[in-house]
Homo-oligomer: 394 residues x 2
């Protein structure tokens, strides 16, 4: 069991970090040589782990390398009701069976990512299905309606005149109890989970336990560079995608997103990347390529990353030298553009093509219906034809 | 199984009634000859049933006489957390054992009051202790935070800057589920229970059941004539008090409270009583005596009621003719008066005397610390001495 290397600790506690609660406690935990239990909760919504999860995993791997234990809590109880975090409307309930199936897939993936000897995978249905209503009501006696309503998300819904269902309202208590059940000393989560994890601290405290430390990280945007990376928004790059797919997808992110990708997914010095991204053009493309190669290398190894890069560059060069018929576009999003330039007969067909992964822009498969098409993009639909789009001016 | 006698139905659905939901449904239920299940929930807070419960019981007895079944639900689960209804601050949680002890006593009392063949006594711990958290969260999915917050009580607390705990916030859902568990067709409750019972209708509807009808009755004030009758306020007259105690206590209510007592606890024509109470003096006293005798007769039989009345009148006459030393008083409540006229050495002693049932006013034992003493009341403390108090004028 090694203490955190002194030179790296400051970086670990600042790079990509949004908040630390409490900084003193977390500092103490990471400076000591006592092994700690680090909670990482995953909601079994889709059987995919995208790079948003990888942001956390790569930090958990670091802690494991120092001798700490990671307990991955798969939300097989909470997943039935759904984490309302970030959701502007209530989710429909899901079947126990379905959630458990997803959890099985996730469990296999997690085992491939984390160090087996220092990983424990568990499911919160283990304690929540076994919990009596009496115990639950005793937990509830530690929380007030006012405290729950303070949650950003609930206030946003309230102001928008949208309902918050009671099962959503109580979700933070369930997530909080996970930390009690596994005796968590520390948790690392996306910044949108801060409220829930603070409730865990409160509950641990109320039950006479030591409260967990919390590190929240900034959220990774999806390939659109705007929304949080998410399977359901179609802007995700998955951890288990091939090196080539990942490389292409990483090269499709907007230049402006390169610094946050680098901050969360690499150890590069950030300032030069920020400058290059701001500059645009070749400089930005090279910076993006360095980040893409590094991220892919961390997941698939340097060999695969180098090959993915080579292939991408080859394709890219080909696109640059090939002259394509061009079409003028007034529309902005890929669905509208496909119809406008007559590569799809209707919006519905355009959506189907995207879903079937039949649409490429500059050689990268695009699935996001809201993908914004840029001037001089090369759009290919299946093997039918390839067109370079030119934005109408005026 | 008899339908409700036509001439009586209108009275049953108006006398003492605050609200009926829905009037059509309840009308249908009571007009038919099909036996229905009438829910009556009792929170096992204190092992006493006062006349506030009797208001309901006497209506339940009427329904039983027609052939309907009454299911009394003792809140052995909910009682641990406490019905927040009417409470301006959160209650402390109570032990399962304690609540079950109280429920046992209540069960014995209920069996003495209701017709055994048409009464089922059950406890909501039976289904709520057995309920999984999963089932509970599915129930919660039918309710929104906004719907719960509509509750008067919660709004009052919120406006007063007082906390509502989550276990209180969810109380209506638990009470609602009782109706599902026992398949209630109808419930009769105090008007302060309307919100909770409306949630039962909503839940029954959501679960594809027939929604129960609700009859809410006006609340019976305590002997102070102000607050709702309640054990904890010390203004209660218990169903199992002796005929004499009840008679005396009923004679101690303010004249202004006679009409509501008569409305809820007798079948007297109300208009003459209202007039007599407003008139005051002998007319009011006679009206009060008629009501007292009727109420006691309904509980203890006409014989005991007549004897209780006789004794009361005897004592009353004696007080009228006996000349007592008099003392002047400026204070209003019994505690202050006892100290003022030196029948107690301190307020604490005065409170102790009241608690020990050692203080009588006009022959009736007074236990309420806030009992207002009137001009010419005869106060006796133990066997020590008896004093007639005269209000200081000016």
């Amino acid at each position: 069991m090694r203490p955190f290397p002194h030179g790296e600790l400051a970086s670990f506690l600042s790079r990509g970090v949004d908040d630390i609660v409490s900084r003193d406690e977390v500092n103490q935990i990471l400076k000591s040589t006592k092994p700690v239990i680090v909670k990482y909760g995953i909601d079994p919504t889709t059987a995919q782990l995208h790079l948003g999860y990888w942001v956390i995993f790569r930090r958990l791997k670091k802690l494991q390398a120092l001798g700490h234990t990671v307990v991955v809590v798969l939300g097989t109880f909470t997943g039935r009701f759904g984490d309302p975090t970030g959701k502007t409307k209530a989710r429909t309930l899901r079947e126990k069976r379905e959630v458990e199936g997803v959890a099985r897939s996730l469990s296999i993936m997690v085992k491939k990512i984390l160090a087996p000897s220092r990983t424990k995978i568990t499911q919160n249905a283990r304690w929540l299905d076994a919990m009596s209503l009496d115990t639950f009501f005793h937990l509830l006696s530690h929380f007030t309606v006012g405290q729950m309503r303070e949650r950003d998300l609930f206030q946003k819904r309230e102001h928008a005149g949208k309902e918050v269902y009671l099962y959503e309202f109580l979700y933070p208590i369930l997530q909080a109890y996970d930390s009690v059940a596994i005796n968590a000393d520390l948790t690392i989560v996306g910044s949108d989970q801060l409220f829930n994890e603070l409730q865990a601290r409160k509950l641990q405290h109320s039950l006479g336990r030591k409260a967990q430390g919390i590190i929240t990280l900034k959220l990774l945007p999806g390939t659109d560079g705007k929304e949080k990376m998410s399977q359901s928004l179609g802007n995700a790059i998955n951890v288990f995608d091939s090196a080539e797919e990942q490389f292409g997808a990483l090269m499709s992110i907007p230049d402006a997103a390169v610094p946050i990708y680098a901050e969360l997914l690499s150890d590069f010095e950030l300032a030069p990347l920020v400058r290059a991204s701001a500059k645009g053009g070749i400089a930005a493309r090279d910076a993006k390529m360095r980040v893409a190669e590094t991220v892919v290398a961390e997941i698939h190894g340097t060999h695969d990353a180098a090959r993915a890069k080579e292939r991408f560059v080859g394709r890219f060069r080909k696109h640059e030298v090939t002259s394509h018929p061009s079409a003028k576009m007034g529309a902005h999003t890929i669905v509208d553009v496909l119809v406008e330039i007559k590569m799809a007969s209707s919006k519905n067909e355009a959506r189907r093509l995207l879903k079937q992964r039949g649409v490429k822009i500059n050689g990268n498969i695009i699935t996001d219906e809201r993908h914004a098409v840029s001037h001089q993009d090369v759009i290919a639909v299946g093997k039918r034809r390839t067109v370079k789009v030119i934005r109408k001016t005026g």
